[in-house]
Structures are given as structure tokens and as C-alpha cells.
Symmetry: C2
Subunit: 467 residues, 2 copies
């Protein structure tokens, strides 16, 4: 039931902004209004005091709009929200996004206002996001009720229990070339809550990976039930804060909700196959990999490097993260012998001793072909050859290198072995092309290894679960 | 003595490249030749087979050059190196950089060639870098004998015991806006070794921080003696790999040198005040902060955030890294009360509840002024106001915000309290201006906290040492 209601919220035919404004100093209101105005469907602006906003005619009240409205954004001061909810009820609105802050998170009066607004909504059957949030977006329909710019389309569904962090994640994700399918800033969760969004994203065909920032969950039992099913279909990667005493104290003063014992969360995530990361950057790193890469069958990694240093760093990181670097089989050594000069050390990490031009693609292919290796991390080599040339020769080599990579991506899918790129040479052109195809490069070997360790964890969970 | 010899190497009046080439497929040789040709002093190219390289007349042998030569780069195959060293001895060359690989790291014959070349050099009093390295540079004199592009000038002196990682660090550092004073790829360290470079950088007035990638040190006792003195003057930040079994195995197969017991290294670093980081990215993060920031007096951190989420993440990270978030004093609360709306939660992290425009500068100033706080981490706010405007208004606000930051940097120096910027709003223009002034912003709160924890460690070491 909730899923259908949420669908109206993310795919409305008509929207209205209550509290629409073009005043720059009202950063939230003016940016939400701008985003609403760029919506392809019907849109309406409501402002009690102005007759025009951004040159667009306004209504005094939602009740004055002659046509039906699927969803509304509310960006007016908290004390006016209950009355506006009554208007929405009269107008038979079914979904809303309450951006406004100053509710339960602020003080007792705010708590009262939140309860009153929620009571009105419940009675009228209005489902709402927030309050005290930065809204939602759906890149598929280029629709957003949020002050932030919509990202490019992508496969990551993002839920954030913090508004400012939600905004930050959209910015940082975009800077890293990631695209999102849907974004939800859940705010105080007076009505719709984290688990509703999780359930919705689980069924959303445009979402391949669910990433979330969590401060505290209200209904642990419901979460366990839903998460267990969702992770069978899609990876769920979360940053749950409040791990330490200082952190949970800060979380309490932020959202008011008790963070709960961290070890209980940890157990719940483990039990349901939810991947809990340590740092905010890991959330993007891991989600990015899952948008395109297969889940590995085991923890045996083949590391490929243009020179020794990377290999050593990657080997250290693998052991730290519980991954193994198996010896290479005689057959694999023989295959690599064919492309590398005799001084290569015939061990894993495979040190290309500086010979990483087109050889790198052949060696990756050899590693895909052997059963001893479940996944590959490669540093350097890829894109190096074309990066040293210019003009026609550059274009010719770029084409060759890109074709080689496309071939390897097909191999990656066939063999179900991730291919994680780290610390590539500075061929930004090729890196952008690979990003377009869903293959993201990590700036350091340690981050590549960390990402892979989460993928291995997911593989282990899925096998345990089905065994 | 070694220091004067090294000075000739980094500040020569004349250089020669033995094995100069303009053949693109010889990536090392052609790039080193290009770098040498852009040197302001006298330069000579030596190539047995070509009469011209990049349109520049060549000599058949170093002995044919009529003028004295301060330093040479050697980029010819290993078997020819001993004979060329004999020529250098005859020519009375005093310093050299042997780029060539295929020595001790390769096989027994290589080991023999390395020993022979070293014997000749010792006899003739030639001090040399390498072999099997990617050379050196000195940005002050725009001089480099390396295949890599020189970075912009800066205060970080970088030593790498891995060539490819050296190149990567230059690239990655440059991408991050960092400048280096000097760079040394130490290679097989047949003559000059890590400790010589450490000693040299310690006395180099352009180097404020020494950063290093270490696989293994040959003379532990010498390192201890030197490092203990260097760290009194300058921060030394190292990534020592081979922490794990897999890592030290990979290091052995890379440089041949035994990595040694990791716990011995750990103890040596601790004893001498060398800061050992965990990941390659930390090396830049920490070095960047030390180029400009004061060392904090204690571990009490004031965290400032535009919204709650960041504060929670930062609080978790602080506790994880051994930093404290003290309660704010009544006086500090009163000062912040004057600029924030009454709903701010009056605790540390200081949540600006979205009001982070010019208030942020006043709050930072208040935190500088209280004895309970030894350093400040701030997320968001800075640069936000000007980022929302354009045209003249933007220029006016940019000027105001930059002046505010310059004032805070003066306060930072007076109070000896670091000001660490994290996850700022997307005002790249202001971020660039701050970078020019030596203040680097970190993309995530966790990384900012980690950097600060190393600064606190250095402060503790210096106080212990002097007490």
C-alpha cells in the first residue's frame, strides 16, 4: 500500500509549492521553487502575499487551485503548517513533503505542532516526508522537491536521515561522477519512515544499489523483516553513525531520537546482510562498485601493478581487510610470461615492471581465466599508452584501449569477477569513458581494496543465505 | 659533508643526460631529456648514436664536453653503466642520478653490475641516487632529472623508496593542489640512502614538512639518531609498508631489501617522533596541514557544523582517533548565543542549525578565544554566502569572506590552534584562494579529524621531549 502512495510522491502529474518564493535570501524556498518550476508536469505556486513568483502567477491557497494536485512541498514557518495541512486535507491531497524545520527537533512547541500536523494528515490519508528535511528527487522524471540541484541519472537510491548531509552527499556524489535514481531526506519521520523508503527503493527498477545515512531506526523489528528481503535482491550500504559515546550524544542532540546501542545495530546489519561502512566516503566507494560490478565468488584477489610500490600497499591492505592473495598457478605464470619481460617476479601482486602498455589488458584477461582468482584489482597501466600520445595517434590508441576495456567488462560479467581500478595514470578522457560505462576508478589502492572487501562480504552473505 | 654533496645534486650549474633521447617509446629517457632541456643552467646531451636530440646537438661521451659538469643523469641499459661511470670518474663528475633499472632488484648479473658501478663511484668520489629510480627534482630552481613533470613550488619534501609510487605521489599531490620543495626517488640506494635525504631535507630551508614512502631502512641506528633530531625541527610523516605478512612478502620481491619486523619500525617511529600514517592518502592529508598550521597544545576539539549530520560523523571520528569534544564554557555559549538563533543546541559539536553565512566566522573566532578548545574543525558555512550570488554582489561577498578567513588565519597563528576545514560548500573559487594561502580543505569530516589526530600526536611528542 505504502509503495503505491510513494509512487505518487515520486511520479506526480501535478505539484504545488506552498510557500513558493523567488527571494534569494530564502535559500530553501527559492531553490525548491526553481526546481518545481523546471518540472515537466503541471506545477502551481502558492504564496499568501505575492501575486507573482519568478514571473509565475501564484495562488493564495492550495484550495484555490481548480485542478487536482498529486503532491505538495511545504516551505512555510512551522506554526502555519497545521492550518495548511487542513487546507491540503480539504483539497484531497494525498502526498506531501514538509521541508520546514522547527518541529520536534526544536522544542516542545515544535513537538506539539508536529503532532497536530501528523494527526490532520493521518485523518485525511495524507502521507508525508519530513518535516525538517531537504526533500526528495527522482532523476528519471527530472522531478525534485528539494533545494539541491538534481544529479545526473544513475542507479544509486539514496536515503539520508540528515538534511545537510543529504545535500553534501548529492554534491560529493556528483563531483565523483555518480548518478542517483532517487533521493530522500527523511527528516523527523513523523509519518513515512526509513523502512518505507527502503521498501520503495527495493521495488524501484531504476535503483540497483541502496545507500543510506542512518542516525537511528524507530522500528527495529520492521527494519529486520524488510532489510532481510531487500538485501537478497539489491545491495544495501549504510553509514550508521553514533558508534561512539560522543557520536551518539551528538546524534541525540541532532534528531532527538535515541541512537540505540551500537552493537544491536551492528548485529542487525550483519544478520540482514546490510553492509555497514565506516566512513562517509566508503558509502560512495562501495555503492559505485555495486552499480555495475558482479559479486565475487570468494576472497582470492589478483593484484596487478605497474610497479612494486602499489603492489606492496595493496597487499598490506588486502591482508588488513581479510582478502587473500593466492599464488599464481603455473598456467597463469606461463600466460603472463608470454607478455612480460623475464624479470617480472612471477608472484601475486603481478608486478609489470614498468611494461604496462597494452600488456595490462592481456594480463587481466589471463587473471579472469584462472579459477584461483575471484577478483582483480589493477593499478596503473590502463590508459597509459594513449595518454603519452596526441592527435590522430592518440585517437587511434584511445579507441584500442577503450575496446580492450569493453572486452574486459564482458569478461568480468561472464566470469562474475569484479575488476576494480585504482590509481590509474592521468588519462582523464579514458576514465570518463569508463565511468559512462559504470566502471569507477578509485584514487588509491587502499580504497579499491576496501571496496572489494565489502563485495566479498556480500558474496559470503548471499551464499550462506542460500546454502 | 653529504649535505654539501647533495646540494650540488639539487642545485647544479650544469647537467648532462647520458642516454638522452627524443624517441617517444623511450618514455623515461625522452621525458628526462625534456626536463633537462628546460633547465635554466648549462645542459648537455650525450647519445652515442644520434648527433641531434630534440634539435639539440649531442656529444658521444661525457668526456667530450669541454666544460665542467656538476651532475649527470644516467638512462642507458644497465650493462653499459660501469663503463659510463668510468668516463664520469675521468671527467671528475661529483654527483649522478642513475635512473636505469636491471640492477640488484633484477638478478645476480644486475647485482654484480650495481656493485661494480658503486665501486667505481666510491673510488672517484661520485655520490649517486639510485639505481632503479625515477630521479629527483627541486622546484625552487625549476630543475629536475626525472621523467615526471615538476610540481608547483611548495613546502613538502618527498622521499620515495618506490619509483612508480613516487610518480603517483607527484601526480596525486599536484591534483590535490599541493606543491613540493624537493622530490627524491631513492631506488636501490646503492650509495646515497634514505637517511642522507632525510638529513638533507631537514636542513633545506624550502622544506617545512618531510613526507616519505618507506619499504625498508638499511641502517636503523643511523636512522634513529638522525630522525630524533629532524623531528624536533620539522614534522616527518611516513607511510611504512610491509605491515602485514602479505605486504612484507610483496616488498621483498619488489626492492629485495628485507622489510624487517614491523613492530621494530613502529617502536622506532614512536621513539623518534616520526608520524606513521596508515594509507597513502593520509600522507598528503597530514603533510598538507603541517605546511601551514600550528601544532595544537592539546586534544580538545571544537567542531562547528552547518547541520547535525556532520557533527555526529565528526564526533564519532574524534572519539575513534582519541580526540575530545569538551563541553562549551558558559562564556563561549553566550558569545555564540549572540549570533545563532535560540534553537541551536548549545553543545559541542556546535550545530549552526542552517544559519551558516557570516555567523560561521564569528563562531570560529569565539572558539579561538576560549582555553577549553585547542583546535577547530569546521564543516560547511565557509564560502556559502558568496557561493549563492553572482556578478558584483558575488565579488563583494567573496572579498568579505576571504578577509574574514585571513583574519582567522592570523588568529590561528596567534592562538596556536589549527583550523581544519572539511566538506565545505562548493565554493571552489574560495577554496582555491585558501589553498594559495596554505589552508587545505578536506573532502570529508573523517579525514579532517584523522589529520588533526596526527597533529595532536606531534604536539604530545614535542611536549614530552622538552619537558
Amino acid at each position: 500500500m505504502t509503495v503505491e502512495e510513494l509512487d505518487l510522491l515520486f511520479n506526480p502529474r501535478s505539484v504545488a509549492v506552498i510557500g513558493a518564493t523567488d527571494k534569494k535570501e530564502k535559500w530553501f524556498g527559492s531553490n525548491i521553487t526553481k526546481n518545481a518550476l523546471s518540472f515537466q508536469g503541471e506545477k502551481y505556486l502558492i504564496n499568501k502575499n505575492e501575486t507573482e513568483v519568478f514571473g509565475f502567477e501564484t495562488y493564495k491557497s492550495i484550495k484555490d487551485i481548480p485542478n487536482p494536485i498529486d503532491t505538495v512541498a511545504i516551505v512555510i514557518p512551522a506554526p502555519s503548517v497545521p492550518a495548511v495541512m487542513e487546507d491540503c486535507a480539504e483539497k484531497n491531497i494525498k502526498t506531501a513533503v514538509i521541508i520546514t524545520a522547527g518541529f520536534k527537533e526544536a522544542d516542545e512547541e515544535g513537538e506539539r505542532l508536529q503532532e497536530e500536523s501528523t494527526r490532520i494528515a493521518r485523518r485525511a490519508g495524507i502521507r508525508f516526508v519530513g518535516p525538517n528535511c531537504v526533500g526528495i528527487f527522482n532523476t528519471e522524471s527530472n522531478f525534485g522537491l528539494t533545494p539541491y540541484l538534481l544529479t545526473k541519472r544513475g542507479n544509486i537510491g539514496l536515503i539520508s536521515q540528515s538534511g545537510n548531509l543529504g545535500g553534501y552527499m548529492i554534491r560529493r556524489g556528483s563531483d565523483r561522477g555518480l548518478g542517483f535514481s532517487k533521493f530522500i531526506s527523511s527528516g523527523n519521520e513523523a509519518d513515512l519512515n526509513f523502512v518505507d523508503y527502503l521498501e520503495y527503493l527495493a521495488r524501484d527498477p531504476n535503483t540497483k544499489v541502496i545507500a543510506a545515512y542512518i542516525e537511528g531506526l524507530k522500528d527495529g523489528r520492521h527494519f529486520l523483516e524488510v532489510a532481510k528481503n531487500v538485501t537478497k535482491e539489491k545491495p544495501v550500504v549504510v553509514l550508521k553513525v553514533g558508534r561512539t559515546g560522543s557520536g551518539s550524544k551528538a546524534a541525540r542532540s541532532h534528531t532527538g531520537a535515541l541512537a540505540g546501542s551500537d552493537s544491536i545495530y551492528d548485529a542487525a546489519f550483519k544478520q540482514t546482510g546490510v553492509l555497514r561502512v565506516e566512513e562517509i566516503e566508503d558509502l560512495f566507494d562501495v555503492a559505485a562498485a555495486f552499480t555495475r560490478q558482479p559479486t565475487p565468488r570468494g576472497k582470492n584477489v589478483g593484484v596487478l601493478t605497474i610497479g612494486g610500490g602499489f603492489g606492496v600497499i595493496a597487499a598490506d591492505a588486502c591482508e588488513r581487510c581479510g582478502l587473500s592473495l593466492p599464488q599464481l598457478s603455473p598456467q597463469t605464470i606461463e600466460e603472463i610470461d608470454r607478455v612480460l619481460p623475464s624479470r617480472w617476479p612471477r608472484s601475486n601482486p603481478v608486478d609489470m615492471v614498468g611494461e604496462g602498455s597494452l600488456e595490462v589488458y592481456q594480463i587481466i584477461d589471463a587473471l579472469f581465466g584462472t579459477d584461483d582468482i575471484d577478483s582483480i584489482i589493477t593499478s596503473g597501466g590502463i590508459g597509459f599508452l594513449s595518454s603519452t600520445t596526441s592527435g590522430e595517434e592518440h585517437a587511434r590508441l584511445m579507441k584500442i584501449e577503450l575496446e580492450m576495456m569493453e572486452g574486459l567488462m564482458r569478461r568480468m560479467d561472464e566470469e562474475k569477477k569484479p575488476l576494480i581500478l585504482a590509481a590509474l595514470s592521468r588519462n582523464l578522457e579514458l576514465i570518463k569513458e569508463l565511468e559512462k560505462r559504470g566502471l569507477f576508478a578509485y584514487p588509491t589502492p587502499e580504497r579499491a581494496v576496501k571496496v572489494l572487501s565489502y563485495m566479498v562480504k556480500r558474496g559470503e552473505y548471499l551464499r550462506e543465505d542460500y546454502d
